[in-house]
Each structure stands twice: as C-alpha cells, then as structure tokens.
Symmetry: C2
Subunit: 364 residues, 2 copies
DNA sequence: TGTTAGCACTCTTTTTCTTTGAGTGCTAAT
DNA sequence: ATTAGCACTCAAAGAAAAAGAGTGCTAACA
C-alpha cells in the first residue's frame, strides 16, 4: 500500500490516547523543521505539553513499538517512520486552511486568460514549484478524452508539408513531412476532405494503427502518394498520447542534501514510466506516496498528487515531489486549492459554452 | 580571456623545452584520468620519460612558477591550473583523429532524414551527450536568419483560432488565440491575404513591434477585430527568437561529485542568459571556456563549443559542458567532426535545391 | 495507577594526539 | 645538466579520550 487519502481512518486511533497522538504530532512537526532526531526534552518544553520528559519517553517507547517512530541509534531521539508520516498526514497534522491573502496569491498565479486546460495546469505547476520549493508533477489526460477537431496539411516548400492536428481540448501539434513528390492541388484537397470526413470527431485514444490502415486501404488511387502523410497523422496522435506527464522544477530537489542526487538523476531518466505507474491507480482525489515504499524511486522523498476533474471524469493530476520532511500542513492545502480551482475553471468554461449555445439557438 | 582556439599559440612555447612540455602533458593526462594530484614518481615511471624523479621535480617547480601547475599543499603532487589546461588543449594534447569506425558511429547518430537543421543538431546533441557523458549545449541561430514563409489562421472552436507560423528554415510554431468575437469568412480571408502580402519573406529578426504596429495601422476597418491576431503573430516571432539555446543531459553533470550540485542548479536556472553571453562573442570556430574564469558559472567545469556554418555565416553552435578534467583529446574531435558534418549536410541541401531549381527552369 | 525525579548506561560526536606516508626542496656528488 | 640522498612538510588515517544528548529503568510520589 503506497497511497493515502486525507479522510481519517479510525482503525488504529483507539490504541492511541490523545496525549500520545499529540506527542507523535509534535515529534513529526519538530522533525520536519529541524531534520534532526527529536528527544523527549524538546517535546516537554513545548507550551501545550504539560507532562515531564520521563512520561514522554514512556509514550515514545510505545509509539516506537507501534511502528510510528524509530531511533537511529540507542541514544538518539526519535524520527518518524513511513507509518508515522501516514498517520500524521491522515489524522494528526492540522492542515492550515488558507487565508484570503493566500487564496488571492494562488489565484494570481493561475493564468486565467489562457485558452487551454494545459496552460492552466502549467501555470499552477509553476506556482507550486515556486511556493513549495519542490519539483512538480503534472499529468494531463485530457488529450486522451479529446477528439480530433481538425487535420490540416500545409505546403511549406518543395516536397515539404506541415501536418497540423488540433483537438477538442485546444491542443495543437504539428509535424513536418518530407515527401518524395510534390502534391497536386487536387491531391491536397482530397486529403483535407478525407481527413475531415474520417477523422473529425474521432477520439485520440481510438486512433490506432489499425484505424489508419483501414483509411489507407480505402483511399483508392491516392494511396501511394498520401500514405506518408497518414503515417504522419498517426505519429501526431501518438504524440498527444505520449506527452502526458511532465516533471519540472527538479532543481528544487537537487539543492537539498537529504535527497540522494544519483537517485534523482535515475528518477529523471525514467520519470515518465515511474510517475505513470504511480498515478494510474484509481485512488482517492488526493494521494500521498512515499519514496522507495512501493516502487517509487527516490528514497526519502514523497509525492503528493491531487486530481483535476471535468464532468465527473479525471482530467489530470497536479502535485509535487519533495523531501519526506515536507511541510505537509502547508503544501497539501495549496495543492487542494489549486486543483479545486482548476476543476472549477474548467467546468465554468463548459457552462459558458452551453449558455452561449442556447443563446445562439434562440437567435437563429 | 576565457576563450581558446585550437590553433597553436607560439608566444610562450620558447620558455618550455620539449621535456617540460612532455612532463606538463603527462601530468595533465594523468590528472584527467585519476583526478588526484600527480607526483614526480608517477611521471618518471612512464615509458617515454627517461629522466629521474628529481629532474622531473625541478621541471615541475618551473612549470608551477610559470603558472601551469599548482600544489594543493606542500607535500602533494601537482594539478593543472586553468592556464595549464589552456596550453594543454592548444598545443600539448595529441587529439586523436577519429577512426573510420568512430566516424561511422557518429554518422549513425545523425538523423540525416530529418527535414530541419534543428532536428539535425538535436540528434548530434544527443550523440554527444551519450558518448561523452556530459551535458550538451546547443545554440540555434537559424531562426534569426530565416524568413517567414507562411502565416495561417485556422478556426478551431467558437472564438478560438490557431495561428501558425512557418519559417524558411522549416520551423513551425503555433499559438492559440481566443478572440472576443467570431471572425467572418471575409475577415479571415483578408487576414490571410494581408499576412501573405506583408509578412511573407520578412526576416524573423526584423519583425519588431514597430513593424507590426505599422501593419495594424494600415489595416483600416479590420483593425479592431484583427489586432489580437497580429499581437499573436508578434508573440510567435518572439518565440522563434527566444528559444535559441538548449541545455540538455544535465543529469550527466549531477552524477559527478567533483562538481557542486548547488552550482549546477544555479546554472540551470539562468542557463539561457549565461550561455548566450558566452557564445555571443565572435571567437574562433571552436572555443573552450573554463568555469568561474570570466563569468561562467559552474566551478571546476569547462564548456567546449564549436560553430555550425551555413553559407559562410554562423548558423548555430554545438558543444558540451563537462568537468574540468575532461578527456579533451577525445571529446574535441567528436565535436569538431559533428559540427563539420552538420555544416556539410546543411549546405548539401542548398546545393540540391539549387540544382533542382535550375532543372525546373529548364523544364518550363 | 499514572506520573515523575534520579541515575546509570549507551552510543554518537567532537576533540586531541599520534602515526603514517606520499611528495617535495635542497645539497652534494656524478 | 642530472641525479641520489635526506630532511622536512603536511594531509590523511587511526587511536584514545572527553563530551553530551538521550534513553531505560527504578523507586518515589500523588
């Protein structure tokens, strides 16, 4: 089990009285700040803890037995285990709710005027990276759900053509094709018509090699000349599918020396597969994954991701990769707010469209 | 002075007799391999050195006085200084000339079928990154020299339009514009014509805000509606100019622990400006720059860049950023070969075009 | 019974001192 | 001009000692 949801799990709670929970929270709070093992004295000196170090030591011993804390060595303080962090995130930490100023600040980061959901998510990713000093991870599955709106071919030089594909989600991709011969006007017109008739409205996800082969076969006399173009169309569609996951702000991880740089390098090399595997599972809206615990590559790091929805379906994810000792109480609300806001903004668009369409019908 | 050319400089040579030069070269060779200070014994044990350690010590003392070597501390061996590396690269090292196998291998990396110079350079950059285990740096100035071939506007949804710009160098960029109103067919046709008449053949570099403002002013009744599109055109052109410099394979630097990771992170943050400054100067065809010596950011690293030409002008640069103790004798020939090859391939294209054009004239 | 003061004990960290050895620079001999 | 020999330097490695943070346990206490 690598994933966690924010909703409280009551299972274990009854084993821990209020004081132990408080102490565990305090240890993790302190560890997140200092990065050093936390001793009983330090906890005892906190204002809302009113018991002696000895009592705290006893409780800590219990917490260790339950697997929430561990000692690097006999005479050191305690540090949280993965389970400790889990419990902390699920039940213990007090997630600060955002102030109006914070909300406004985050809103300002969001580039509301941009036309595509992609760009919106991109700006949120930048915000996260700057505000949390973490690497950010973005998964955009909207291309999968979207359909082809338009396929154009534009001559751009002798035997050179630009293929253009536009999707309903507003994404565009182009590709240069070098053909063996120049196309006649008639051939180009046929191609445009053929594409419009056969590919418009087709989902990116459906556009397999087979579909294209059928199209090629049905092309008759144009087959020989136009096949390379169709191959290009295929590659464009593939491109939409591929470029789903983006990791950025990696430099934020490099700066930290509690994270092994070699591991980061390794992670960056196959980030796409790794992250894809992580996010494919249909966990809750917000999940927190820990490094090296279930296949995630970077030890001593955690990944927090939250889903963006559109019309009930998951349209993407946004999150951060940071150190294990991350200020979860601050970062998680940020991520929740941003993904929530994006979800809102995306659906607003829809509403607006619907209204407009009604208006139009009225007009006509 | 931060730049170096490969051509020998004779200025200082007369101060160094053949043996001292040999010893300096041997020290640097050894240091490049081991990374440890090199002592007189190690040098004396080399087959083609036929003097005693004591003699070598004397010579090394001289080399140190001349500023080519230095001692980390009194009782350690010698390591090269920046000037030492300079002399080594300029005169001392024996650059291995490439074997036929190596040439073939490099040729295979080059994606000859790709249509744009960009992609060609890109594949060379990948080759360098894999073969030298360095970060690579690419500067592509071809967009600057190229002219606009085509500007298209394609409707892609209500009030949504895709602007497309294609340049003579085969580069394409697109941008989504959201307008306040839908365009009529007539407006779109006007725009296409207007663009064709006024922007086709205009150099990317010339397309300033002013030019566009003039165009806007001359647009008459269409002004209000079409201004946002022209603004988009402007941004597209800017995009071509901006995206000149690409650094990739940074992970190769991260793996090394003789290079400070924090410095790498810092460098990556403003790589564009840094590299731009480095390459703007019109030095020789191949230059070697050293870190922290003249403004380059990463200490203990070096940057080797070679120019790619087209029609006598510089069309771009390609090179690597690696550790100071780099196998220059191997890497420099690689870079020289690749940039040479690309220069050839780019001009071949031209020749072919010219021939064809002649043929065509004959036909008509 | 839960809490706490006290204390012995453990184990890392820091410091100090010693040893080792690679490598030099100088001198005198070749 | 080159080299063997030797005293000297200094980082690195090792050993020993001291410091200190923190624990676990016991016994006292409310």
């Amino acid at each position: 089990m690598t994933a966690q949801v924010l909703k409280p799990r009551k299972e274990v709670s009854f084993l821990l009285d209020e004081r132990k929970r408080k102490i565990l929270a305090a240890v993790i709070d302190a560890y997140i700040v200092t990065g050093e093992p936390v001793g009983s004295k330090a906890i005892a000196s906190l204002p809302d803890i009113r018991v002696s170090p000895a009592t705290i030591r006893n409780d800590m011993a219990v917490l260790e037995q339950l697997g929430y804390l561990e000692q690097p060595h006999t005479s050191a303080g305690r540090i949280p285990t993965y389970s400790g962090y889990r419990l902390y995130i699920d039940e213990l930490m007090n997630a600060k709710s955002l102030s109006d100023e914070e909300k406004q600040m985050l809103d300002e980061y969001l580039d509301v005027d941009v036309p595509t959901a992609d760009a919106l998510i991109e700006s949120a990713s930048k915000a996260l990276s700057e505000l949390t000093h973490c690497a950010t991870v973005v998964k955009n599955v909207s291309p999968k759900f979207s359909v082809i709106t338009k396929v154009e071919v534009i001559p751009t030089g002798r035997r050179m053509y630009v293929l253009l594909m536009i999707t309903s989600s507003g994404n565009i991709r182009n590709k240069v094709c070098r053909l063996e011969f120049d196309l006649t006007n008639e051939q180009m017109e046929f191609f445009s018509r053929y594409m419009a008739e056969n590919l418009q409205g087709v989902s990116i996800d459906e556009l397999s090699e087979e579909t294209v082969e059928k199209l090629v076969a049905a092309m008759g006399t144009y087959m020989v000349t136009l096949t390379p173009l169709l191959k290009g169309v295929c590659e464009l569609a593939e491109g939409f599918k591929d470029n789903e996951i983006k990791v950025s702000g990696e430099k934020n991880l490099l700066a930290r020396q509690d994270i092994n740089n070699a591991q980061i390098a390794k992670f960056l090399e196959n980030k796409n597969e790794v992250v894809k595997n992580m996010l494919d599972d249909s966990f809750g809206d917000l999940q927190v994954l820990f490094g090296e615990d279930g296949g995630f590559i970077i030890e001593n790091s955690s990944m927090i991701v939250s889903k963006i929805k559109k019309g009930g379906k998951t349209a993407g994810s946004l999150g951060v990769i940071g150190p294990m000792r991350l200020d979860y109480a601050k970062v998680i609300p940020y991520i929740e707010y941003l993904t929530g806001r994006i979800t809102e903004l995306i659906s607003e668009d829809d509403d607006e469209d619907d209204e407009d369409q009604l208006q139009r019908k009225g007009e006509s």
